[in-house]
């Protein structure tokens, strides 16, 4: 059995079944890619695994470290070592990236505001940030900015990877991390992710296009179509998709390596309300 086991996962969003029985095993040390055309359920998979309240699991299980992940709150999943680099990171005004990163780190270390010995020191914090910020080409002013507020598309994605580098998860999902990135940024981001690869980290790359897979080589590739894994194999599956696209399953032109020809539509937002 793999370290991280998804078993026959069925997920409904606003009454519509999106995932129709997904099974997938991922172990630490491995890089898996989940590829699929628009609307196949890729983001539903990552959001469900992280615990987004808008996704209803109707059946199935996700097991990690002996826990039923689906019974846990998102913060508990995160502290267990699960991470999601979002496709559309959320803006949180007024909260600085430094404050955010420090609070997240302290939460991981079990600091609840009482036992000061568990809190990260400013020196440790700086040391932890130094290298990944260099690799990601981010300067210090970034830390005093508010979470994703006014960030360019590329800055948002780099910020997601920086958080990953700092929090050091064991299972990391990267949801369309290369979308919206120029070729240089893809290189920085890939460099950073590759530097984290090792026996302790399992990666699940979720992507429409093969572009990012040229920089981060997957060990396994799964093709998700209409809520089901229709094909699993080695890196050669991606090469094949590069040539044929998803035409075997859906009526979509084969422009897979081209990048930004079709940006997936933003999913509907759940519960976020703003009225003037």
């Amino acid at each position: 059995m793999a370290d991280f086991e998804i078993k026959d996962l069925h997920v409904t969003v606003e009454g519509r079944e999106i995932l129709k029985g997904v099974s997938l095993g991922l172990s630490r040390g491995e890089v898996h890619a989940v590829m699929g055309p628009n609307g196949s359920g890729k983001s539903t998979l990552s959001n469900t695994l992280m615990g987004h309240p808008g996704y209803e699991v109707t059946s199935g299980a996700v097991l990690y470290k002996g826990h039923d992940l689906l019974a846990m709150q998102p913060d508990e999943r995160a502290r267990l070592g699960v991470y999601l680099a979002f496709q559309y990171p959320t803006v949180v005004p007024g909260v600085t990236m430094a404050n955010f990163l420090r609070t997240a780190l302290n939460a991981k270390r079990g600091y609840d505001g009482k036992d000061k010995s568990k809190a990260i020191t400013p020196r440790e914090f700086r040391a932890l940030l130094k290298e990944p910020m260099q690799v990601l080409r981010m300067d210090d002013t970034f830390l005093s900015r508010y979470i994703n507020d006014g960030f360019s598309g590329g800055e948002k994605k780099r910020a997601e990877i920086l958080q990953m580098a700092v929090l050091k998860p064991e299972i990391a999902m990267l949801d369309e991390t290369d979308s919206g990135l120029d070729i240089d940024s893809i290189k920085f981001v890939s460099e950073s992710i590759n530097s984290m690869r090792g026996p302790d980290l399992g990666v699940l790359i979720i992507t429409h296009y093969t572009r990012i897979l040229q920089f981060i080589k997957p060990d396994f590739v799964h093709v998700l179509v209409d809520g089901l894994v229709v094909r699993s194999g080695g890196a050669d599956v991606a090469d094949e998709l590069e040539r044929t696209g998803y035409s075997e399953w859906v009526d979509e032109p084969a422009v897979i390596g081209a990048g930004e020809s079709g940006v997936p539509a933003k999913p509907a937002s759940w519960g976020a309300e703003e009225v003037s």
């Binding site: 959320t90 955010f100 009225v275």
Partner: protein, 469 residues
């Protein structure tokens, strides 16, 4: 007809409270309000006749004026049941045991030092702060800055006092201004001479004495030409009082080219009706900034205003309100553009939780001929649950065409997306909610001196505990 008050001075009085003039000390208060009471108050303070007369005149205005029928529901204020003049020694005579447990617990969690707690709970004066005050006082005196409690101000500087007192907020302004003028006691009196910039904030906290926590404080600040002062009133720790009505008046004069910032964070216990009139007049090129935070009280009605009297004057109001269970914060600001080329901004941030209600109430008034006026109002409300309420009452009275007025308002809930995002990084829900709320009021917090900002964030954290979004 003057009534001779009972004088009751304890043996340890001089040792403990020698900071004060003896005749100010003990006065057995009566409930309710009458001409006699007002005369007694004035007599106790050995005030000049003009002040006694002004108090009496104000009392008559108070009696004639009707209660405001807008804003919060004030029908329950029982004027006849209030002590209008409680001497410090009496409040100090209260014992620590009488302070409610939840207030004590909050002190614990805020980490308020022991000595401060008793003061904040209205139990005793804080002696260390007197020392701080005295050294500060010397420093300021060299520059000619006057920083006194208002009673002493009247005694020692009658000429300045009489020139300005009641000119910005006359007794007839509103019922509560009349009440305050009739029975005022305590508050701060500040005069900053021409060109003097006071580089550290003056805090009421330094000037702590018996009068400080008066129900009817009266503050008068005069910034002479080209001067600067930042005055800070209140603190984030809860102020406990058994008095149910707090009605203060603050008058500020900012002369040509001067700048004044007035920062308040009020956290009265939730039995208090907090009805405050605050107003400043800003002259040519002068700047007045109100930074006003309302966390406590059952009901607050407070709209700091700036009258922009001459060209180039600038007014700012930055206001934060937090209303929890059973609280109604009716707050905002008022900008009156009397002169051309004047600018103003009002930024209001309000948070409602557990059925609490926040109201933004604001007025932008532009007089005829006040051309090239710029004014911008922004109010953002954050609701933490479905039972809480927020409403806005933005008024504009504009008698001039050549103006640029903007208004922006948002009401939002703590968004599930933001919550999910923070939680996905391992931050527990309650902490994530607190972060979002603190982020929401950050434009306010960043204007506070650091120690106040830290305390305010901690206080929000306490208010947030147990809330589920």
């Amino acid at each position: 007809m003057a009534v001779v008050p009972q004088i009751n001075v304890g043996d340890d009085y001089r040792e403990k409270y020698g900071f004060f003039d003896p005749e100010k000390y003990v006065f057995k208060a009566k409930r309710g309000l009458s001409e006699e009471i007002v005369k007694e108050i004035s007599w106790m303070k050995s005030e000049p006749d003009w002040m006694t007369q002004m108090r009496l005149r104000s009392l008559r205005i108070f009696e004639k004026k009707t209660m405001p029928t807008w804003g919060a529901d004030l029908s329950v204020v029982a004027f006849a049941n209030i002590f209008y003049y409680l001497k410090a020694s009496e409040t100090q005579g209260k014992s620590w045991d009488e302070v409610p447990d939840d207030i004590k617990r909050t002190f614990d969690r805020l980490g308020v030092p022991e000595a401060e707690r008793k003061f904040l709970a209205g139990v005793a004066a804080q002696y260390e702060s007197e020392v701080v005050y005295h050294s500060l006082h010397e420093e300021l005196e060299k520059k000619g800055v006057i920083f006194l409690d208002t009673d002493t101000g009247l005694r020692e500087h009658p000429e300045i006092f009489r020139e300005y007192f009641g000119t910005i907020i006359p007794p007839a302004d509103n019922k509560f201004a009349a009440l305050n003028t009739a029975v005022w006691s305590g508050g701060s009196f500040i005069y900053v001479p021409k060109g003097v910039k006071v580089d550290i904030p003056l805090q009421a906290y330094f000037r702590i004495n018996a009068e400080n926590m008066g129900q009817f404080e009266r503050t008068l600040i005069i910034c002479d030409e080209g001067s600067f002062v930042h005055y800070i009133e209140g603190c984030t720790a809860p102020i406990y009082t058994t008095d149910s009505l707090h009605s203060a008046v603050v008058e500020i004069i900012v002369k040509r080219g001067a700048r004044c910032r007035y920062t308040t964070i009020q956290n009265w216990s939730t039995n208090v009706y907090n009805l405050v009139t605050k107003r400043a007049a800003a002259y040519a090129g002068a700047t007045m900034e109100w930074v006003d935070g309302n966390l406590g009280s059952q009901i607050t009605m407070k709209y700091p205003s700036v009258y922009l009297m001459e060209p180039g004057a600038k007014g700012d109001v930055l206001s934060v309100a937090f209303a929890g269970k059973g609280q109604h914060q009716d707050a905002g600001g008022k900008m009156v553009h009397v002169a051309p080329n004047t600018t103003s901004t009002i930024t209001s941030k309000s948070i409602s939780k557990a059925g609490g209600r926040t109201s933004y109430r604001g007025l932008i008034k532009v007089h005829p001929g006040a051309h090239n006026v710029k004014s911008f109002v922004k109010c953002d409300a954050l609701l933490l649950d479905d039972e809480s309420i927020s409403d806005t009452y933005p008024y504009i009275e504009c008698d001039e065409n050549d103006v640029n007025l903007g208004h922006e308002a948002t009401v939002s809930k703590v968004s599930d997306e933001q919550l999910f995002y923070l939680m996905s990084r391992g931050i527990p829900q309650a902490e994530a909610e607190t972060m979002i709320v603190n982020g929401f009021i950050e434009p306010f917090t960043k204007e506070l001196p650091l120690e106040y900002a830290v305390e305010l964030n901690r206080l929000i954290q306490l208010e947030m505990e147990g809330s589920v979004g």
